[in-house]
Amino acid sequence: MAQTAQTAAGGSGRRRTAWQTLKRDRQLWIMILPAIVVILLFNYVPMYGIQLAFRDYDFTKGLTGGDWRGLHYFKQFIDSYMFTDIMRNTVTISLATILLGFPAPIILALLLNQVRWKRGKKVLQTVVYMPHFISIVVLVGLLNVLLSPNTGIVGYLLRSMGYDINLLASTTAFVPVYVLSDIWQHCGWNSIIYLAALSTVDPQLYDSAKIDGAGKWQTMRHIDLPAIAPTIMILFILSMGGVLTTGFEKIFLMQNTLNLPVSEVISTYVYKIGILSNQFSYSAAIGLFNTVINFFFLFVTNQIARRVSNISLW
């Protein structure tokens, strides 16, 4: 798809002025204008609030009037007693989530795509995306019941296999339980996008592959995977923007004193310091610290993707 200098709309390769480009693209500009307005209005206008991370909060002077503290709150966070533990836990959990949680929906989509039996496929598809709608509160309640060592079915299965471990209690089990239950809940939903991509594959391709004698495994490798490759790439870049993101509610509900050394993350820490006193600036600083790192990873991944393939965010 290499673009040459000739375009359908005339011009013989000489440079266009910005105005001419604007005119040529005016329909596109009109199409994108509502989105630009919405994003500018609701996302960029309030962005002055970011400076709360650098200022004290002074109600009487408004959001922008407090004393300037520069990097004080950032330093406070980095120097704080729990910094290393929190960062280590956050990175561990989110990396594990990405490493395991990213391929799972892809595999599931490829799996479902192979199912011949239409009825079964529909049923399986529907069942598999349903857990996505279970609220976190109910999910953790479910985990507590099902994984309970004495009375839960999973606990029972493990005990009958000889493992005497309390899945809810140990520091080693916390991350696997968290990540696996995450996959259980969201894999089906996340696979929808891949299924949709797979559905756009021209059936003729499958037929010609069959004629050429390709086995199912090869078909998957050479037709299915390339069909969803752009989607995979983009979603992967986006997921790298979640390197320091763990979500709050689920971890908070799953936390107990036994898994605390590995389950205290940035979001739960911010919540705890927030409820006792209104630490607006400090939490804003921590939040900003968090997102800057996330954005950095996204940026780097995007640049790499651009070099390596044609697919990138920008």
Partner: protein, 548 residues
């Protein structure tokens, strides 16, 4: 494609039709839950002032429009209040509300607006001193009769923004200690009086089929409530520290207690070490519920209800016997006195002193500085503090919930539904403990069965509680107002300390190791900022005692 669009349109039309039919208003102020007539009063007596208010209520509480006493109180005060009833996520809502200055005339609820909020948002709330003078005779009466309430209400600069509550009837402690008397009888044992005796009794429970159902393995000798990551609370084994002479105040969740006027923290105290060692010994012998650190509160309560007539739990802590064990098994349990640490110990045993937290509350109602009709708002607040009205705030309206005996005395009635317990009935019918109130000491009120039984069950603990030196061994944190900076510092240090201490607590109890780790743990605790907090609290306590 066309079908999808027609589906969408059909849905939209249906929804709009529904919206139109039920008179959906979109925010022109008419949507509240009070009487449905919009625009102008409904031909009642004169013009009532319209006020807006938020209340943080218990999820069980019924809609305010159905509360008889509330409607009557509003009428007497000449106001009509549009209530927003919040049951969840108040802290998330609060931030945006306060920062934008967009608050209603009144905010009601137990510490819904904290002292930290008041300090952080100066000028947002109304200083009530003058209004109390002019329109708040009931509040003044409360301040006179109970000077502690004035202390609770007053900020460091003398201003009053939030009004407190006083509810008088609650016991001196939240946590009571229970043991299964029937199991003791089955095994021919006596109620233990020391830690060692308790240990032996628990072993017997475990090994000798105490509940007599033929299965020697289904007993749980000891169980306690789930311990949070933010510290201890009620129904936790920390009350055993009383055996070592430590007096807990309001459960001493973060470990702070007072001894002979000195502020200390038990997390770094030798006595706490012995306490953890005792629990570790019990856990290692299989005497504590193995799920004690992973079950949630629901499960904790469910387990205690056993199966039919067979009890599962031998020794535990709870609020009241039917609440803890259910109606069927309650008769099997008796409440116990505090244990001594050892038979030879002559330390005066103590317990958790929670009288203040149970009977007093801070900042139950605040007023917006921008309220248009402050006198009317104050009149309404004043109604709430009328002892007869307060009684109804707590237990429900006269009529369905309270009987007026006609001679100046009253009686709390049992629930209308005989299957319901009195506690649920209270919480369903009215604001209960979440409302501002002043229950006068001279009010003659016969309490419901639940309150009476709580009192009875607290009896075994009373000798220890009465022996507490309230001046020097009870930490008066409820009555102290910290500066925002000190509050902030302490909060940060406490978060650090709790992370360390609670994780260690559960690790030591379940896996042991306290011997080896104690010294480095104490050093670690210093690094969390604990000494700083102790120094801050001591300063404030000394100041408080000087000014009394």
């Amino acid at each position: 494609m066309k079908r999808a669009w027609s589906l969408v349109l059909a849905l939209l039309l249906a929804a709009s039709a529904l919206a139109a039919c039920s008179g959906g208003k979109n925010g022109d102020g008419g949507g509240g839950s009070s009487n449905g007539a919009s625009g102008g009063s409904d031909g009642g007596s004169g013009k009532r002032v319209k006020l807006t208010a938020i209340m943080t209520k218990h999820p069980l509480t019924k809609p305010f429009a159905e509360m008889e006493w509330l409607q009557a109180a509003e009428e007497r005060a000449g106001v009509e209040i549009e209530w927003e009833e919040v049951t969840a996520d108040w802290s998330q809502k609060k931030g945006a509300l306060l920062s934008s200055g967009d608050i209603p005339d009144l905010i009601v609820g137990p510490n819904a607006i904290t002292d930290a909020d008041i300090a952080m948002f100066p000028g947002l709330f109304q200083d009530l001193r003058d209004l109390i003078e002019s329109h708040g005779p009931n509040v003044k009466a409360m301040f006179e009769a109970k000077p502690e309430t004035r202390v609770l209400a007053t900020q460091t600069d003398g201003s009053i923004y939030g009004l407190p509550k006083y509810q008088r009837y609650w016991p001196a402690t939240v946590t009571r200690q229970y043991i299964n008397q029937q199991w003791l009888n089955n095994l021919g044992l006596k109620v233990p009086t020391t830690w060692d005796e308790l240990y032996d009794v628990l072993v017997a429970f475990k090994e000798q089929d105490a509940n007599g159902n033929g299965d020697p393995n289904d007993e749980i000798p000891m169980d306690f409530a789930p311990v949070g990551t933010g510290g201890f609370g009620f129904f936790h084994p920390t009350v055993l520290l009383g055996s070592t002479g430590i007096t807990l105040t309001n459960a001493s969740g973060q470990g702070y207690f007072m001894e002979d006027g000195v502020v200390k923290n038990f997390f770094v105290d030798e006595r706490y070490k012995r306490f953890v060692q005792f629990l570790a010994k019990c856990y290692a012998a299989g005497l504590i519920n193995p799920e004690v650190f992973t079950q949630d509160y629901t499960k904790f309560q469910s387990v205690a209800r056993g199966e039919g007539n067979t009890a599962k739990v031998g020794f535990t802590w709870g609020w009241e016997v039917t609440d803890r064990f259910g109606n069927t098994l309650a008769p099997q349990y008796t409440s116990m006195a505090p244990l001594k640490e050892t038979a030879a110990s002559n330390v005066q045993v103590s317990w958790d002193y929670t009288y203040d937290a149970l009977n007093y509350g801070v900042n139950m109602v605040v007023m917006s500085a921008k309220a248009k009709n402050k006198e009317a708002a104050m009149r309404f607040i004043n109604e709430l503090y009328d002892p007869i009205v307060s009684m109804q705030v707590l237990f429900g309206s006269i009529g369905p919930n309270i009987k007026d005996n006609g001679d100046g005395s009253y009686e709390v009635l049992p629930p209308a539904d005989p299957a319901m317990d009195p506690g649920t009935w209270k919480w369903t019918s009215t604001w209960a403990d979440n409302g501002p109130m002043y229950i006068a000491d001279d009010l003659v009120l016969t309490l419901g069965t639940d309150m009476q039984s709580v009192g009875a069950q607290t009896e075994p603990l009373m000798p220890a509680i009465n022996a507490i030196d309230k001046e020097n061994d009870v930490l008066p944190t409820m009555f102290i107002k910290y500066t925002p900076e000190d509050n902030s510092t302490m909060a940060l240090n406490n978060t650090n300390l709790m992370n360390l201490a609670m994780a260690k607590f559960s690790q030591w109890v379940t896996a042991g190791g306290i011997e080896q780790e104690w010294d480095s743990y104490v050093k670690e605790a210093e690094r969390t900022g604990l000494p700083q907090n102790l120094e801050i609290i001591q300063r404030y306590v000394d100041e408080y005692k000087r000014s009394k």
